[in-house]
């Protein structure tokens, strides 16, 4: 026995906390994150494939278009790999990358708004037929179309907050954190958008809100309009 060895110490076995103890032996997100941090390509790919549906879906709903999806997803995961070391809770990868999706989409929308204001870019209308599943029930179709018709007109921060709350049911605190505004601002923006949606559903024909609405100002209930006010839609959402 080599010199310097200590007497047999109390042995302690610390097991890797993961879901791999089950019969499926599938690595947990935490385990994959640890491996990905070590630059293991297989772990990164496993994380990507596991969360591709989540990322694509969230990006799709926020952007309202399929054309932007591939580039946005690429940006999201590139950013994720770059900042993986800052993820304090590896098991929370799912919510962490959702926040990256929101931030990235928000940034894109804001950039495009500036370019439109400068006349460097045309409008990016939401293709309702492409966004809303054709197999959705009629009441859902109507509701989603009215939501996205409104969303087209909203400033980026309000748009993102409203979609995340209304369609993805994301907690307000998470929305605020992801977008980088205060909780109060998020609440105010969403409340304003909800009011607009209700008013449009009641067919009141409000004024256009595209021009003159500052990014950080509140959305005034009377400052928005829809291209084609909905008719016949009561509070229950059924025609």
């Amino acid at each position: 026995m080599s010199p310097g060895l200590a007497a047999c110490a109390r042995l302690k076995c610390v097991r890797e906390p993961s879901s791999t103890s089950g019969s499926s032996a599938v690595p947990s997100d935490a385990a994959l994150v640890v491996a990905a941090r070590a630059n293991e390509v297989w772990a990164k790919e496993a994380l990507f494939r596991r969360h591709a549906g989540l990322v694509n879906g969230l990006a799709f709903r926020v952007m309202g278009r399929d054309e932007d999806l591939d580039d946005l997803v690429q940006d999201v995961f590139t950013e994720a790999w770059r900042s993986l070391g800052r993820l304090s809770d590896p098991q929370a990868f799912s919510s962490w990358i959702s926040a990256i999706v929101v931030r990235t989409a928000h940034k894109i929308l804001r950039r495009r708004r500036v370019m439109r204001a400068l006349g460097l870019r045309g409008a990016d209308p939401v293709d309702f037929d492409a966004v809303v599943s054709p197999s959705a029930p009629p009441d859902i179709q109507v509701e989603l179309r009215s939501v996205y018709r409104l969303v087209e007109k909203l400033p980026p921060t309000t748009r993102v907050a409203f979609v995340l709350r209304r369609i993805d049911a994301m907690p307000l605190e998470d929305i605020a954190s992801a977008i980088g505004v205060s909780l109060a601002t998020v609440k105010r923006r969403i409340a304003g958008a909800e009011k607009l949606l209700l008013q449009s559903a009641e067919g009141q024909g409000m004024r256009d809100a595209v021009g003159g609405v500052e990014e950080d100002s509140a959305v005034h209930p009377c400052g928005a309009s829809l291209a084609s006010p909905l008719r016949g839609i009561g509070e229950g959402g059924r025609p």
């Binding site: 610390v14 890797e16 032996a25 070590a38 494939r49 879906g57 799709f60 809303v132 859902i140």
Partner: protein
């Protein structure tokens, strides 16, 4: 108002496997770094299972001195050994992959990514020798021991057999290395956090147990191997669909060696299957990105293009061939494949990337 949970399910993009694979391909390309610049990586384990070794490449000959202090990676295909001037001798079994990370008077750090290796370390005061294997670190205090790491990152099955002296083992957790370290003495084995006496493992002469060789572990594992609770078997499946799915699962779980074997088997047994081209593409991608086997990646991707691929994969496969030939130094082939790519995809997404390759 409909509940949000109802709404989100009706607003989702169309995501085919081809689209997801194409997305991944672009992400991987954008974030990949050249293999020769890759830093020493400790493979963080997600489980503790006994692992089997593969062969050792003949690029390192007996008694070669590994140049230092750079991080380097070797893949050995034959049994071979390395002796470091610091008094460390390492004997690798077939197809081991290892990296020498740090090398200083006070610390030698080596990672066994996959394989079986016998370490003979002379104790020196003030110097630490650390061997990293999937999921753990082994600190050597002057001893002889064997580390077995089966099936590349295969939820790792790592076993440590101490033949002389003792080692301290720390497992990798989300919070870092476990403390205190587990002391494993001479004549005992460690696997999955449990130490046992070496009943049927390594003999005193260091001859490996037959059950732990690559030839006996895997699809044709011996009964002895299958009886070892720490050994994992790959049970062969019959149908093409089952093979394909099992290969995909193995790949996503990090079992690149298993995935490669399954994909090869698919190619052999189902050459006329509609997925044969895709299988060859996946095999080529696995060898290129994970197994770092350039020549065999070229073979697989060339085969994939011959068999026919969908447009998303064809472009990717052709671009990868250019990069592989550039990596291998075969300039004429690189130029040839680059020309093919540019003719077929003049506005392809890899145009700018491959334009800088194939320099004379």
């Amino acid at each position: 108002m409909t509940s949000p949970e109802r709404l989100s399910q009706w607003v989702n993009p169309h995501l085919s496997e081809a689209r997801i694979s194409a997305q991944w391909s672009r992400i991987a390309e954008r974030t990949a770094s050249p293999w020769w610049r890759r830093p020493v990586a400790l493979v963080a384990a997600v489980g503790l299972v006994t692992v089997c070794a593969f062969g050792v490449v003949g690029t390192i000959r007996t008694h070669d001195v590994v140049p230092a202090p750079v991080a380097l990676e070797r893949e050995n295909v034959d049994r071979d050994s390395v002796r470091l001037p610091e008094g460390i001798t390492i004997e690798f079994r077939a197809r081991s992959r290892w990296l020498l990370g740090e090398r200083s008077p006070s610390l030698i750090r080596l990672s066994l990514v996959e394989g079986v290796a016998d370490f003979d370390v002379v104790h020196q005061d003030g110097r630490r020798v650390v061997i990293a294997a999937p999921g753990l670190e082994i600190e050597v205090v002057g001893t002889r021991f064997r580390v077995t790491a089966l099936g590349v990152r295969e939820l790792p099955q790592v076993r440590v057999d101490v033949q002389r002296g003792s080692v301290r083992i720390r497992q990798t957790t989300n919070a870092g290395l476990s403390e205190p370290a587990q002391l494993v003495r001479e004549g005992t084995s460690w696997a999955a956090g449990v130490t046992t006496s070496q009943a049927n493992s390594v003999t005193s002469a260091g001859v490996p147990d037959a059950a732990m060789t690559p030839e006996t572990l895997g699809p044709d594992a011996s009964p002895d191997a299958s009886a070892d609770p720490g050994v994992r078997r790959v049970v062969p499946r019959a149908t093409a669909k089952a093979l394909f799915e099992e290969a995909e699962q193995a790949r996503l779980q990090g079992r690149a060696g298993d995935a490669e074997r399954l994909l090869e088997r698919f190619s052999r047994e189902y050459p006329g299957d509609a997925r044969a081209g895709l299988v060859a593409f996946e095999l080529g991608r696995l060898r290129m990105d994970v197994l770092m086997d350039t020549p065999r990646a070229i073979v697989a991707l060339s085969d994939a293009l011959r068999r026919g691929l969908g447009p998303e994969f064809r472009e990717d496969a052709q671009a990868r061939l250019v990069r592989l030939y550039a990596r291998s130094g075969n300039t004429s082939a690189c130029i040839r494949e680059r020309k093919r790519y540019l003719e077929a995809f003049p506005e392809g997404r890899h145009v700018s990337a491959i334009g800088t390759l194939c320099r004379r």
